[in-house]
Amino acid sequence: MADIPDTIVLKRDRDLAKRSKELWVRRALLLALTVFLILAFLNVFGQRSTTSSTIAPAATLTIHSPDTLRSGLIFESRLRIFATKEIKDAIVVLSPEWIEGITFNTVEPSPVGEASKNGSLSFDLGHIPQGQEYSLYIQMQVNPTTFGGRTQETRLFDGQTLLLTSSRDVTIFP
């Protein structure tokens, strides 16, 4: 037999004694990576939009927006208000969780007025006649340093009268 090269241990490097676990570790890592990618494919890490509707006697609010996001993502939220009864002065109030760590790039159509309502963001949309729909498009981007879970609350008022409240859980992955 040829001289064994220095530092080569035949039992370990040729017979692979006690090295079967290396293979299993590699397989486990491969499995973990596959599971991660399957979860990504199944939209676990975002950003497919979901639709949630809240129905009240006077109006229906439908929010179409991703509930799973990642830091830095650009996305769109669409708020549709269907006026079952006439809404003389529709006001949408978004809780701070809508905007904290998230940049609003644009809101279309531009609301009649914007204000802070007890710490929340208030959009005055104006008059919505009975049987008509109002769509509000908000283009947003998650700030790169933002991550974690939050509950976004949306309230719809007619002037000072609360018509409905809607809550959505949003998760932002780093």
């Binding site: 080569i8 490097d13 590699r26």
Partner: protein, 148 residues
């Protein structure tokens, strides 16, 4: 701080990915591998610094990688028990001109590929090889038989 944490997470991820890829992939650098490396680098960069274009941000990212690399090599040097985790051990695939099939299979190397690698080292036949070892870097080192 944020960039440093991201750099640590990505370093660990890339490290595990390289260990997972196996030595075979590490040793070869075909044109496609080169393109893939650039694409991986670009994808990592976006997750690392995102929209931070500052020199400070770049210095934090590169500094963290450098520190982790030095730390890893220090651990590897200082503690023997860490070596199998960080680097692994070499694997003998040929002894005295005989191919050890099980070890080749483990490293996903065919006999043809082994023969090709041997020819690159001016070894015409596997019979001429005393030892062939897949090193931790993924390269195969050949020790020819001593001529009588």
């Amino acid at each position: 701080m944020d960039i440093a944490i991201r750099a640590v997470v990505l370093y660990v991820f890339v490290f595990l990915l390289m260990r997972l890829a196996g030595r075979r992939e590490l040793s070869s650098l075909q044109p496609f591998d080169l393109v893939l490396l650039i694409v991986i680098g670009d994808a990592l960069q976006q997750g690392l610094t995102q929209s931070d274009y500052s020199v400070t941000g770049a210095m934090i990212a590169v500094g963290t990688f450098a520190l982790l690399q030095v730390g890893t090599s220090y651990l590897n040097f200082k503690f023997k028990w860490v070596r199998p985790v960080l680097e692994g051990y070499p694997i003998v695939v040929v002894q005295d001109g005989k191919v050890i099939e099980a070890n080749l299979k483990r490293e996903r190397i065919t006999v043809d590929e082994l023969a090709e690698a041997a020819r690159l080292q001016q070894l015409a036949s596997i019979d001429d090889i005393a030892w062939a070892v897949v090193e931790t870097s993924g390269q195969i080192s050949f020790i020819p038989k001593k001529s009588s």
